[in-house]
Every structure is written in structure tokens, then in C-alpha cells.
Symmetry: C2
Subunit: 261 residues, 2 copies
């Protein structure tokens, strides 16, 4: 049995922890399509007709969470989807003995929280301070009935997530440790680039343990792979939470499994 991080199954923060500000209506954050966030083109509601934006704006609710806060837990009734406004968070499943699998990291512009049978199949926890835009699924469905573009956008986000899972399943099922780490780093860099964040040096807000629990390895193996890349001159590690990608092509070759090494 692989070790994973073996979460002690202790109680984490209640989902409605004190640090979660409940739905402040005033537009306190900044400019954006609906006035509630500063995501611009990354916002879920970007490009929608004014009528739709205004209705979304009325049903949405902005929340903030601190590191280690739990947004919701596996098994909770799943009433809403979330759009990340700022910060980073992770979504994971636990096994009865504490083995953990992180099924996704989410950043500015990402959406998560889709669920089947009205129950979340996984838990969500903030990594850094996080701002989210919470959209009740019921309201979203109502709105979507008369606004095909809403449905279309939701489906687009879900399709992207499905594509990501196909890749990740290939990674977990068939790639070696170094291939996994290389793939992970390049994937993070690509996502940073797409949302307009610096991708080299690339920020690694999550710890080594989280990385390990995402790509099916142990902390030690992740660390060794990183050190090896560094010694090969493929990356630089100015500090544990950022990476400079020095030779993207070489890293890409490793990630694809086409490297000669």
C-alpha cells in the first residue's frame, strides 16, 4: 500500500468555519463583469448579456477562506458550484485508513463543485487565503433554462475538466515518477500562462506532500525528482515554493516519455 500522507482523520474546520464571511452583498472586491470580482475575461459571467449578469450577480455570494479552511466535505449536500476569484485550493478524497488523493488544484478563474445526486464526492480545502464566487446550482439551472449561453459555459468548464482527467489518469496509470513531476510542473505553468500569471518563475502554493498526493507518489520521491531536474539544469529552485523552468523542451520530452534518459 503506498503511503500517501495518511491524514489522521481528525476533524478539520467545520465547513461553515468562523473565517468564512457569509455572502457580503456589497461589491467590496473590485471591477468585473458583475462587479463582484476582478477576474475580467476569466470570470464565469464574462461576456454574458447584461440581463444574465445581473441575475447571476443577485444569486452569487462572495466568500473568503483562510489556509486549511474546509469549504465543504465529502458527503455534504452539494448545493453550489464555485468559481475561484483569488488564491489556491485543493479538492481531495480520503480512504478510511487516511490515504489521500488530491484530485485537483484550483486557481483564479477555475470552477469546481459539480456534483452528482446532490452530494459532494470530495472535500475542498483552501491552500492560501482564497476568495470564491459561490453559485447555487438550483439558481444556475433555473437561469440556464432561458439562457443557453450559461449552459454552454458550464458544459465547457466540465468538458475541460474531463479532458484534464483523461490526461491525469494517463499520468497516474502509466508514467514514471520523473515523468509525473515534469508533467505536473508543465501543467501548472501552462495554466498560469493561460490565466495571465507569471509561469517562470512559477509559484507552487501547495506543499510537496500535496503534490505527492496529487500525482500518486510520496514526498520523498517528489523531492528527489525535483532535485534531479535541478542538477540536470532543467529547473531552478530559488526556494521550495517556486520553480524556474530553464529548459521547457527537455522537461516536455521527459513529461511525454519521449526523453532518451
Amino acid at each position: 500500500m503506498p503511503r500517501s500522507s495518511v491524514v489522521p482523520l481528525r476533524e478539520t474546520l467545520p465547513a461553515d468555519g468562523a473565517s468564512a464571511v457569509a455572502c457580503p452583498r456589497p461589491a467590496e472586491v473590485a471591477r468585473g463583469p458583475c462587479g463582484h470580482c476582478d477576474l475580467g475575461a476569466l470570470a464565469f459571467c464574462d461576456g454574458f448579456a447584461a440581463r444574465i449578469v445581473s441575475r447571476l450577480s443577485r444569486v452569487q455570494c462572495t466568500q473568503r477562506f483562510e489556509p486549511h479552511d474546509t469549504l465543504f466535505r465529502e458527503g455534504d449536500p452539494g448545493a453550489a458550484v464555485y468559481s475561484v476569484v483569488s488564491g489556491a485550493l485543493k479538492v481531495y478524497k480520503l480512504m478510511p485508513d487516511g490515504r489521500r488523493q488530491i484530485t485537483g488544484f484550483f486557481f483564479r478563474g477555475d470552477m469546481f463543485g459539480f456534483c452528482l445526486d446532490g452530494t459532494y464526492a470530495y472535500s475542498a480545502e483552501a491552500i492560501t487565503p482564497v476568495g470564491v464566487c459561490r453559485l447555487p446550482m438550483r439558481r444556475l439551472n433555473e437561469l440556464a433554462e432561458t439562457a443557453p449561453e450559461v449552459q454552454h459555459r458550464i458544459m465547457g468548464r466540465m468538458t475541460a475538466k474531463l479532458a484534464y482527467f483523461h490526461d491525469h489518469v494517463l499520468l497516474l496509470g502509466r508514467k514514471t515518477a520523473r515523468e509525473r513531476v515534469a508533467t505536473f510542473l508543465l501543467g501548472l505553468a501552462e495554466r498560469a500562462r493561460r490565466r495571465g500569471d507569471p509561469w517562470s518563475p512559477l509559484a507552487l502554493p501547495m506543499g510537496r506532500t500535496d503534490i505527492a498526493d496529487h500525482i500518486g507518489l510520496t514526498v520523498e520521491t517528489v523531492s528527489r525528482a525535483m532535485t534531479w531536474f535541478k542538477r540536470q539544469g532543467l529547473i531552478d529552485l530559488p526556494n521550495p515554493s517556486s520553480v524556474s523552468i530553464r529548459q521547457p523542451d527537455a522537461l516536455r520530452a521527459i513529461a511525454d516519455g519521449s526523453a532518451e534518459v
Copy 2:
């Protein structure tokens, strides 16, 4: 590097192989919501208004494939989604060196073929003789604009697939060989039960190599796990392509990682 089945990267059948009958319009199969299949409540169009069913019926196209036929290949322009009418098929991704990851098996009532940027991110191949109902994505989107129930159903299928991936990623990232095989067998049985097929003895239309390439193991390890379950009296293997689940609870305990062994 795990061995996987190392597909020789040879050319398989062209996607429009001779055996694929192109869109016979007459309702040749049997009774069903739209008259083109006999899926009943499993059909994509089940329960839709007559107007919708009739429009779906006009844009759909029934195809048949023989074992080893390729429906589409990774990188092909992705113009349609498929609903399985009969038979079994698999969807997979390849690495440049031939390592293969099967990302899903599909049976009667299942849908697949959702794709991002109009390009399939994976290949699809028939395992047994297969009948599918092909729905052009463009037409489906048009229809969905005025029929929220269509959008809603598509989203439901996608959400189910996302939930499956969360579970499968946990399996691949954190479960042992026996846990994986137990989980796989129970998952197949559950799906068979839901679609009204016999679940014990359970049919295994796919070979051991396919199973291995789905759950991230080698054929030998899959075989050994099965033999072990058999010796423990948890299952019976009347022949390689069917399993009788003798002790579902014990198997479930292993699958969950809560077994004492």
C-alpha cells in the same frame, strides 16, 4: 517505467472502416423512445417531449462496429457524441513509446465522445460487436438552446463521468493491486446491475490486458489478484470472461482498503 501493454503503434483500422455501416435511416433495430434503439429508459432521449425526440431522431445516426474497429482516434476532429446501444467498447490514450492507458469502458446506455476544442483527446475502439447512436454535437447544441432538458441530461452524464474519474484517480493514485482489481470488479457489477444486466455471474468482455491498462497494472498482476480472490473464495471464475461474486461484502472491504488482510 511500468510496462503496460506497449501497443506497437501500428495502424489500426481507419476510423471509417468498411465494417461501419453509415447511418441507415430506417428503424432497423427495435422499439425505443425514438424508434432507433431498444434502450428504453437507458436511452439518451428517454422521457423527452415528442418534439425533441423527433428532432433527435432526425439528426442521429446508427452505426455498427466489429471488435477492434476504431470509432475515432486521438486528434481526430470531434464532431459527435455517442450513446452505446449494444456491446462494449473502450476509450484510451497512448504515449509515444506505446504505453497505453484505458480511460474508460462503455456499455449499453453509456455516453462518450465529449471533447474540447473540437478534437478528441483519446481513441475509441470496439471490444465486442457494438451498436452506437451517433449525435452530432453541433445539432445537439442547437437543439439544447430551446430544450433545457437536453442540456440538463448532457450535464448529468458529464457529471456522472466526472464523479467516476474522481474515484478512478483515487484508485490509480493510492490503491494497491488487489484493492484496484476488487474495486474494478465491483464497479463493473454495479454498472451491470444499474442497466439491468446480470451482475453475478458478471461478464468481462474485455481481456486481462485491457483491465490492466485501465487500472494501472500489468496482466500478470491482474491475473494473480483474480487467482487470489478465487482461492479465498471471494469469487469464482467459471471461465476467463466471467466472474461470480461470491462474497460481495468481503470484496467491498478490500476495495475500500478497510479489510484487515
